[in-house]
Amino acid sequence: MNATGYAMRTDQLTVRYGSFTALSEVSVGLRAGAITGLIGPNGAGKTTLLNALSGFTDVHSGVVYLEEKDVTTLAAHRRARAGVIRGFQTVRLLERESVLDNVLLGAERLHQPSDCSQILGLPAHWKWRTVARSKAADVLELLGLSSDSHRSVDSLPFASRRLVEVARVLISAPPVVLLDEPAAGLDQRGRIELAGALVRVHEQTGLTMAVVEHDIDFVTRLCGSVIAMDSGSHVMTGTPQEVFSDARVQIAYFGRAANAHA
C-alpha cells in the first residue's frame, strides 16, 4: 500500500495510433484492493487504457504508475512479472491444448526452477509441477471448471473458454488483475456465477482488479467504484450508482434514449 491508495494509476496518459488519439490525457487510478469497473461506449478507449496499463501499447505521453513506480516504459512481459496480469476481449488460448495446460500457462509468474533443470527433468521441476497443479486445481474448482480440466479448449462452449482465460489470469494470484469484458457472451446465470467467483477471489486474496464491462448489472454487482470514459477521455469516477445516474454518462451510453427518460 502506498500513500495515494492506488495500486495502479495513470497521469495525463495519451495514446495515439497515427493521427487517431485513442486516449487523451487520462488520469485515473485503480484503488488498491478494490474492484474498479471501466465503462463507456465502443471506442471510448477502455481497451486502450487496459493495454496501456498492461504494457501492450506504446504510450505517446504521460505516465503509468504501479505502486507509485513509473512503469511507462516497462515491457509487457516485465509488467506481467511485476504482477499486472490481463485477460483479452477476444479469448486467447492454446486452442488444441487441455484446459489444465491453458491454466498452468498462467503459472509463469510463480517462481520456477531453472530452464536447465526443466529440460533435464530434475526433481525441482517435478516438485514445482505438483505445486502448480494444485494451484490450478484450486482455481479451476473456484470457477467450476474442474470436470473439464482435461478437455481440449477448442471443444468447450464459448462461456467456458472465457472462464479458462480468467482462470489463467488468476492462478498466480497476481496483485493487479485487468479483465476485458470477461462476461461477454455469458448468459445471465453465467454472469452471476462469474461475478460471484471474482468477488470470492477478491475476498480471499485482496487483489486489485479492473474490469471493462458493458453490463450495468454485472458492474453494479462486482465493482466498488466505476471509471466512465468517452471518446478517449475520462468522464468521471464514482460509485456505480453515482456514475450510472450521471447525465453525461447516460448521454454517452444511451444517446437520445437518456433524453427520452429525462
Binding site: 481497451t47 493495454n51 476481449q89 477476444t90
Partner: protein
C-alpha cells in the same frame, strides 16, 4: 554450350561498358525471378498455399519442349507451344487435384504436399527424358547489338518487354478491372464471392492456367540462357520464393522489386567477387537484411483489439 560459357559471354563479350553489362544481366535475371514470383503470388492469392512444385511446372514445359525439338525434330515454336500446354495442364491438375484439397490451419502441410509433387514431376521427367543437362536454343541470344557500350541481345530485350507488360498487365487487371475485383473477392472468401454471382471455379481455372503459362515462359527463358535438366529451376524458384517471403506475399510491388534487386545484386557480387560468390553473397545479404530490418517492416501489425 554449357551454362558457364553463357554466363561468361554476357559479362565479357566485346562490351566496353562492363558495369552497364552486368546491370543488364542482373536486371534480366531479376525480371525472370520476378515473373516466376508473380505466378507464385497469383497462386498464393487464390489458394493461400505455397506451391513448392511451381518451378517444376515450368521445368516440365521447357524440358519437354527441348525433347520435342531435339529428338522429334518439331519446329521450335511448336515444341515450346506444346510445352506450354503441358505446363497449363500440369498446373491446373496440381491446383484442382492437390492444392484445393489441402486443409486449412495446418502450416507446413502445403510445403510437404507440394514437395511430394516436386519429387514426382522431377522423377517423371527424368524417366521420360533423362537426368542430364542439355543446351537449349538460345532464343535470340545471338542477335546482338551494342547500346552505349552494352551488348544487348534479343533475348534480353524480350525479357524486359515481357516483364514490364506482364507485371503491368497483372497489376492493372487486379486493381482496375471487375475481373480483378472478383478475383480478390474469391480469394478472400470463396463462398461469399460465389453467392454474389462470381464463377469461382472458372476464375480459379483461369488462375491455374495463367500461372502455368507464366511458369512455362520463365522456364523456357531461363533454359535459353543456361541449359535444361530436371532440376535447373530450383535455384530460380528459391530466389523467387525468398523475395516473396521478404516482401510479403500479400503485397504486389514490394516482393517483385526485391526479386529484381536480388538478380542485380547477384550479378554485382559475381562481378566483384567471382562466379562462385553469387550464392553466398545473396543469402548472406538476405540474413543480414532481415536481421537489421526495423521491426515495423518485419512484424505483422500488432493489433490488441483484445
Amino acid at each position: 554450350m554449357k551454362s558457364t560459357n553463357r554466363k561468361e559471354r554476357w559479362i565479357t563479350v566485346e562490351s566496353s561498358n562492363p558495369f552497364g553489362q552486368l546491370i543488364l544481366g542482373g536486371l534480366t535475371s531479376g525480371l525472370l525471378y520476378a515473373l516466376l514470383l508473380l505466378g507464385f503470388m497469383v497462386v498464393f492469392q487464390v489458394s493461400k498455399t505455397v506451391n513448392f512444385a511451381f518451378g517444376q511446372v515450368g521445368m516440365v514445359a521447357a524440358f519437354s519442349a527441348w525433347f520435342f525439338w531435339s529428338s522429334l525434330g518439331l519446329p521450335l515454336p511448336v515444341a515450346i507451344g506444346i510445352g506450354a500446354i503441358l505446363a497449363v495442364v500440369v498446373n491446373s491438375a496440381i491446383g484442382i487435384i492437390v492444392i484445393t484439397k489441402i486443409p486449412a490451419g495446418r502450416p507446413g502441410l502445403d510445403l510437404v504436399v507440394t514437395l511430394g509433387i516436386f519429387l514426382f514431376l522431377t522423377a517423371v521427367m527424368q524417366l521420360l527424358i533423362d537426368a542430364n543437362a542439355h543446351a537449349f536454343p538460345s532464343l535470340g541470344g545471338d542477335k546482338r547489338t551494342v547500346l552505349g557500350g552494352v551488348v544487348v541481345n534479343a533475348n534480353d530485350v524480350a525479357i524486359m518487354v515481357l516483364g514490364v507488360f506482364v507485371i503491368g498487365g497483372v497489376y492493372v487487371l487486379f486493381s482496375r478491372t471487375t475481373l480483378g475485383m472478383e478475383l480478390r473477392a474469391s480469394a478472400e472468401n470463396a463462398d461469399i464471392a460465389a453467392s454474389a454471382g462470381v464463377n469461382v471455379r472458372l476464375l480459379r481455372l483461369g488462375t491455374w492456367t495463367f500461372a502455368g503459362l507464366l511458369a512455362a515462359l520463365v522456364a523456357v527463358l531461363v533454359a535459353s540462357r543456361l541449359s535444361v535438366d530436371a532440376f535447373y529451376m530450383t535455384p530460380v524458384l528459391i530466389k523467387a520464393f525468398v523475395a516473396g517471403m521478404i516482401g510479403g506475399m500479400d503485397r504486389f510491388f514490394a516482393p517483385l522489386v526485391i526479386a529484381i534487386g536480388i538478380g542485380v545484386y547477384e550479378a554485382l557480387a559475381i562481378f566483384i567477387w567471382g562466379s562462385s560468390a553469387g550464392t553466398p553473397a545473396v543469402f548472406l545479404l538476405i540474413i543480414i537484411a532481415l536481421a537489421v530490418m526495423p521491426k515495423r517492416f518485419t512484424a505483422a501489425r500488432h493489433e490488441v483489439r483484445a
